[in-house]
């Protein structure tokens, strides 16, 4: 039983690696307090701060192409690099960061760029280059980035086996509570690996007993206790291991490992009765976890060690039944692994959104087909491949949405063309009936007349039509043949009086009327200018609309063709990923099957031994 456990731990621990994937708290960008000068840059940040990274990236790229982030050139470049990096575009991100370092003198931007460059290089496995980038950071980064910088740098040291440097680095750093917990954890693990268990245990114990208000912190606390518990077991400090392992929550992601370890601690001290407690609890749990599989053999082993052969036989028989059932289910899953059904069922669980770029597959749908992928996702290649497959599926969906939109825009343009064809004759008729040149000439004449009236103080010229008419009639009287006769003398007097009154009135009103006339002329001039502009606009629109529509139609054609080509490429790439992922899944399922077969063989052998002992006792 114990020998077989060693083989199983490799898969158990590999799955733990996935469960422990979030080794640092959720990242922030360090851009808080930024004063937005370009609205479109602020709009990008609005999406970015909501973790809607794909929208932020696409809007940023568009805004930059339209020259709408002029006040934030360097920051926009840096943000674009960071977003690309998060989206797995390491090469493009790297180019941006290197270009930025060549062009900017801003120390803050340069330091942040070095940090991102270090991150790219680390992710690409260029550890020495990553180290150089870390060393180029000349001043503290914004708090959130600073925390990530220290933790990433420490991990880089640990990857290089430089545990002492990692410990020294993290000891010199003070961060917020969450990051400090992670730093203590990482330092503790580094110390244990250096052989300094006592010092490492102090830090791991600190994390293992901390007050945790979030699930993330509770999970880290459990993780620290599991790590510390197993370190004690390794150091043969079984008595210390048990209480530490029992601190792990019973229902957390690390509880199975903790229960198995607690049983081992008791078993190592020959206290098989105590070991049965955690192992029996474990043996009723989901068989997917290899700790549970292990417990199915551990429980009868403990009974056998206690001399309780009948119970041992009963539990070995139970284990054989369970392994048999599980093997049949595994065979079905293996049959599925060759098709796309496994991957499709995984994608069904989360619609193709591109929001969660820090997506980690840490839980699987409770589905007969997919539950065995638990083992496959423990494989880094599978996990990364699935992430890319999912991104590509989401992009495919995204392009399909654009295709629908383009189709709607094409209809819209057709409607515009139709409306244009219908309205054009009506408009042309209106334009033809509107004699703008004649109106402009008339307006010019009016202006000249008013100017003349002002120059000669022509009170009649600005008088209303009625008064002008009266004035003309009074003057006309003087030309009549009978005007100079004696009989007209009375009329002449009247005419003189009326003429005088009229002239006096016109003279009195002259300045007001002249002012009104000049204003009216100016207003008319403005109106005619507007009309002329509108005429020109109508003419331009009449001439350009067919061209504009055609231009849009051509662009839509070209974009639709590009979408089609890209979808073909996406389909091809997704096919390759599916093949790749199915191969890993099959490999893992076969390995799992072999492990179960081995367990079954061991259980059969152990059961036979128990029966032999029972028979011997009865003789």
């Amino acid at each position: 039983m114990i020998r077989s456990a060693i083989q199983h731990w490799s898969s158990l621990v590999a799955s733990l690696a996935i469960l422990a994937a979030t080794i640092g708290p959720a990242r922030a960008d360090g851009l808080d307090g930024f004063v937005v000068q370009d609205p479109h840059y602020g709009e990008v940040l609005f999406h970015f701060y909501q973790q809607d990274q794909f929208t932020a990236l696409t809007h940023l790229v568009t805004a930059r192409s339209q020259n709408r982030v002029q006040h934030h050139q360097d920051d926009a470049e840096l943000l674009q690099g960071g977003l690309l990096l998060s989206w797995g575009q390491h090469d493009e991100a790297g180019k941006i960061f290197e270009r930025l370092l060549d062009t900017t003198d801003d120390v803050s931007v340069r330091n942040r760029t070095w940090f991102y460059l270090a991150k790219v290089r680390y992710q690409r496995g260029h550890l020495e280059a990553a180290e150089r980038a870390f060393e180029s950071i000349s001043a503290p980064l914004p708090p959130e980035l600073e925390a990530e910088r220290y933790n990433l740098h420490a991990r880089l040291y640990m990857d290089n086996g430089r545990y002492a440097d990692a410990v020294a680095l993290l000891n010199n750093w003070k961060g917020d509570e969450t990051w400090t917990a992670y730093a203590n954890y990482n330092t503790g693990v580094a110390l244990v690996r250096m052989g300094q268990l006592e010092m490492g245990a102090t830090l791991l114990d600190r994390v293992g007993t901390m007050r945790a208000s979030t699930e993330e912190m509770r999970s880290l606390r459990d993780q620290a206790n599991v790590a510390l518990g197993f370190s004690y077991l390794q150091a043969q400090l079984d008595g210390d291991a048990r209480p530490v392992l029992l601190r792990v929550r019973l229902n957390g992601p690390f509880s199975n490992k903790a229960l198995l370890g607690a049983g081992w601690a008791d078993s190592a001290g020959k206290n098989y009765r105590a070991a049965l407690g955690p192992w029996l609890e474990l043996s009723d749990r989901d068989l997917l976890d290899s700790a549970v599989q292990e417990s199915l053999l551990a429980v009868p082993y403990a009974f056998a060690q206690l001399g309780a052969e009948p119970q041992a036989a009963e539990h070995y028989t139970r284990a054989l039944d369970i392994f048999g059932t599980e093997l049949a289910r595994l065979d079905n899953a293996l049959a599925d692994a060759g098709s796309d059904r496994l991957l499709n069922s995984l994608l069904e669980t989360e619609p193709g959104s591109m929001g969660g770029w820090y997506w980690e597959l840490d839980s699987l749908p409770d589905d007969e087909r997919t539950r065995y992928l638990y083992f496959a996702i423990a494989d880094h290649r599978f996990h990364e491949g699935l992430k890319s497959y999912r991104d590509l599926a989401a992009l495919d969906k995204h392009l399909a949405q654009w295709q629908d939109k383009l189709s709607a825009y094409r209809d819209m343009l057709a409607t515009r063309e139709l409306a244009y064809a219908e309205r054009l004759p009506v408009l042309q008729d209106k334009v033809a009936r509107f004699d703008l040149p004649a109106m402009l000439a008339q307006q010019e004449q009016n202006t000249q007349r008013t100017k003349q009236a002002r120059a000669t103080r022509d009170v009649v010229a600005v008088a209303p039509d009625v008064e002008q008419k009266q004035w003309r009639r009074l003057l006309a009287m003087e030309s009549a043949p009978a005007w100079d006769t004696r009989a007209a003398s009375g009329l002449q007097d009247k005419q003189r009086v009326l003429k005088g009154v009229l002239l006096w009135n016109m003279d009195k009103e002259f300045r007001v009327r002249l002012w009104r006339q000049e204003n009216a002329n100016a207003e008319l001039s403005e109106d005619l200018k507007l009309a002329a502009d509108q005429f020109a606009a109508i003419e331009r629109a009449t001439d350009s609309l067919p061209g504009t529509v055609l231009n849009f139609e051509q662009r839509i054609d070209a974009l639709e063709a590009s979408i089609g080509q890209l979808q073909t490429r996406l389909g091809g790439s997704m096919g390759q990923y599916a093949q790749f992922l199915n191969a890993i899944a099959t490999e893992e399922l076969v390995a799992q099957r072999e492990r179960l077969l081995t367990y079954r063989a061991q259980a059969r052998f152990a059961l036979a031994s128990v029966y032999d002992r029972m028979a011997a006792q009865n003789r």
Binding site: A5, A14, G33, L45, Y49, D391, Y409, F580
Partner: protein, 181 residues
């Protein structure tokens, strides 16, 4: 003894696993299949990103040509005296947008993000914009306040900012509608 030997190996693997982050994978072998697929994926994503940019530009030019385009943005400065719930926007007396903010969006605004509340088309000339802000003011009292602006739309895009800030002196929120310069 057997158990101890096993534990030695287990603990070493366990500690390795616990310190390994899937996101930050160790050195990659560029020759492996995943690396080749990754290169292909990067090229594909780059192409999609460029295409997406062209699609956005086309969409905007088609739906909101720059000579008629008007965009209204909401921004928040501090926001201690006012917890924004919603903004209602009218242009020339016609309601064009009613937006209810989620907590996540509010946090994004508080961190300096700017929300594009409205984008549309307006003719050249004067237009009146009226924004009504609803939320909780000082002492958690319901608060509703309006602000307006007459804009002179010329040829070329016009950007308007609805800004909510804190007046330290009056210990009250301030609502400003202004053209974005």
């Amino acid at each position: 003894m057997e158990l101890k030997a096993k534990l030695g190996r287990i603990t070493a693997v366990l500690l390795l696993a616990l310190t390994t982050q899937a996101v930050f994978a160790g050195p990659a072998d560029p020759a492996n299949e995943l690396a080749a697929l990754d290169q292909q994926t990067q090229a594909l994503k780059k192409s999609v990103l460029e295409l997406n940019r062209d699609l956005f530009v086309l969409e905007e030019e088609l739906l909101y040509p720059s000579n008629t385009q008007v965009a209204v943005f909401v921004s928040l400065d501090v926001g201690e005296y006012f917890a924004l719930d919603s903004v209602e926007l009218s242009v020339d007396g016609k309601n064009v947008s009613n937006y209810l903010y989620t907590e996540r969006e509010l946090k994004a605004l508080q961190r300096g993000g700017v929300h594009q509340l409205f984008i549309g088309n307006l003719k050249v000339g004067e237009h009146e914009l009226v924004a009504v802000f609803t939320g909780q003011g000082p002492h958690e009292r319901d608060y509703r306040r309006g602000a307006s602006l007459i804009i002179d739309k010329n040829i070329g895009s016009k950007y308007v900012e609805l800004r909510i800030s804190d007046s330290e002196q009056a210990m009250q929120p301030e609502f400003v509608v202004r053209e974005w310069e």
